[in-house]
């Protein structure tokens, strides 16, 4: 079940533009890995190289040592959802999946199973031309799940989903990772993966500018932790005893320059009741924006 993805010196040049520059990273099983970066950072090109759709200028991308095109049954080994993936507008959703299942030599019942999994059973006989963006994403996800693969590579899967859809996607991705699958999810919006990802790869202008666990990235957040407690004085004393500090940030609320995990531990040791414990607003997002600053447009909005 467990498959490890390895990107090794992956590079792609389009003419004189370097889209992806010497990217080396490991994506581990049983975890959700967020692949972050502003639009145009090279995420899609990287994923397409990983999946054999774009030929790397140099470097390799492998699944447990095998390139995608060398996989015996790719659909059973890697599930994919890519942004530019299209549907014939005149073909019914169910037929779209039937075509893919036929090509991959998968049993017909898998089509019904994945339709149920993504909640599209009632709309399965409609032509995809009439589908909303959110329904297309669900259909794409259904296609990714057809072969019940141990690896999922999803490019901006939250695009077009409504808030309920995004929440559903989050718990869905978590459950896939908890089953031991390797889940790689790209996004240009940090909050989308913030609550789901265990690991992050941050790409900026084709270069990997950060890789590690989300917790590590959080602790690098300059914003520290916002904590609310009915007893701020005791918490402050406990933090100062541990060599840290705290500043007032409103009634019963403190701001601490430590990671939330550490603040929680210290509070527990001191027996202080907490009502809220969270990364300070903008903290993680600020790290992300700083990391990718060079690539962002001048107005700062990397949409």
């Amino acid at each position: 079940m467990a498959t490890t993805l390895l990107l090794d010196g992956l590079t792609k040049r389009f003419g004189s533009t370097v889209a992806v520059d010497d990217l080396t990273a490991t994506v581990r099983p049983g975890r959700v890995t967020g692949f972050l970066g502003p639009n145009g950072a090279g995420k899609t090109t990287t994923l397409r190289m990983l999946l054999g759709l774009v030929r790397p200028t140099s470097g390799t991308a492998t699944f447990d040592g095998r390139a995608y095109e060398d996989l015996a049954a790719p659909t059973r080994e890697v599930g994919t959802l890519l942004e530019a993936t299209g549907f014939h507008p005149g073909r019914r959703a169910r037929d779209h999946l039937r075509v893919l299942a036929a090509a991959a030599d998968l049993p017909r019942r898998r089509v019904e199973e994945v339709l149920a999994q993504v909640g599209l059973v009632d709309a399965a006989d409609r032509k995809t031309g009439g589908y909303s963006l959110g329904m297309r994403q669900r259909l794409g996800l259904a296609a990714a799940l057809l072969g019940d693969p141990p690896v999922l590579v999803l490019d901006e899967p939250a695009n077009g989903l409504d808030p309920q859809g995004i929440r559903w996607l989050r718990s869905f991705l978590r459950s896939l990772a908890e089953e031991g699958r390797t889940v790689l999810v790209s996004s240009h919006v940090l909050p989308e993966v913030e609550q789901t990802a265990d690991d992050v790869l941050v790409l900026s202008k084709g270069r990997l500018v950060r890789s590690g666990t989300l917790a590590e990235l959080r602790s690098a957040a300059r914003g520290g932790t916002a904590v609310r407690t009915p007893d701020p004085a005791r918490l402050r004393a406990a933090l100062e005893a541990a060599g840290s500090s705290a500043t007032d940030a409103g009634p019963d609320e403190l701001h601490v320059p430590l990671a939330p995990e550490r603040v929680g531990e210290l509070a527990a040791q001191a027996g202080v009741v907490l009502h809220r414990l969270a990364p300070a607003a903008g903290g993680l997002e600020q790290v992300f924006l700083d990391l990718t600053a060079d690539a962002a447009p001048s107005d700062g909005a990397a949409a």
Partner: protein, 252 residues
């Protein structure tokens, strides 16, 4: 490979296009039969009403859908790029040549279905019309011509797929193919048969034994067997070129 062919057949069966193209084909076949039989015997017409070849000439109209099948082949491929279904196709089957091969087979099969329907319609319409008019209904060379019809209809689809793979842009491929078959080839075959006989259209006319109708001076085209081989060669060479040249491109 069988699974892939099944998938390609399913792709064709789950969209409305083939049905519309089949109806177009049958309409063209009927028009061809009517034109051939109703003009027979008129002043300056190449055929007389008692010509023993009249039935064979009329049922040769069953190949009238060859251009339609050509367009079907082009669309079967270019729509994958136009609608972005090429990405999932190549993700399921990273060996892109196998996808192309399966598509060639599936489109040939559909061409065979079109051919059978066309032959039935052409035969029934021709016999009905000729009998009603009291014209010759001799079966002279009808068998060979119908074999030729089937061959042409089966081969034009794959040629279309290959053209689509080489050009990739749907509008350019369709417009280019239509301009080629209706203008360039017709002129070459009619006015310069020594060159025109080597074009797919020239080979088609040879297979259908329509040389004297296609050329301005009634010159001979290639023998039937050579025309058939030439059509097969076009389908094979264009497909191999497509697999080698364009299919390997990055899919961004």
């Amino acid at each position: 490979m069988r699974a892939l062919v099944r998938a390609e057949v399913l792709k064709l069966r789950t969209v409305a296009l083939p049905l519309w193209l089949l109806l177009t084909t049958l309409a063209l076949v009927l028009l061809g039969v009517l034109a051939t039989i109703l003009t027979a015997g008129l002043e300056g017409a190449p055929l007389q009403r008692d010509d023993p070849q009249l039935l064979a000439r009329a049922v040769a109209s069953a190949s009238g859908g060859n251009v339609v099948v050509l367009v079907l082949g082009i669309l079967a491929l270019t729509q994958e790029f136009r609608f972005g279904t090429a990405t999932p196709s190549f993700l399921v089957t990273p060996r892109r040549g196998r996808v192309l091969g399966a598509k060639l087979i599936a489109v040939s099969g559909l061409g065979l279905v079109f051919a059978v329907a066309s032959v039935v319609v052409a035969l029934v319409a021709s016999l009905a019309l000729l009998t009603a008019r009291g014209d010759s209904t001799s079966w002279d060379s009808v068998g060979e011509v119908l074999l030729g019809v089937v061959l042409v209809m089966v081969l034009y689809g794959p040629i279309g797929v290959a053209v689509g793979a080489l050009v990739r842009n749907q509008i350019a491929a369709v417009v280019g193919a239509l301009a080629w078959t209706f203008i360039v080839e017709q002129l070459l075959v009619a006015l310069l048969p020594s060159v025109g006989q080597w074009t797919p259209g020239g080979a088609t006319a040879a297979v259908l034994q329509l040389g004297d109708l296609a050329t301005a001076g009634g010159e001979d085209l290639l023998p039937v067997w050579a025309g058939a081989l030439l059509l097969v060669a076009y389908a094979v060479v264009l497909s191999v070129l497509a697999a080698r040249l364009t299919l390997r491109r990055d899919l961004t």
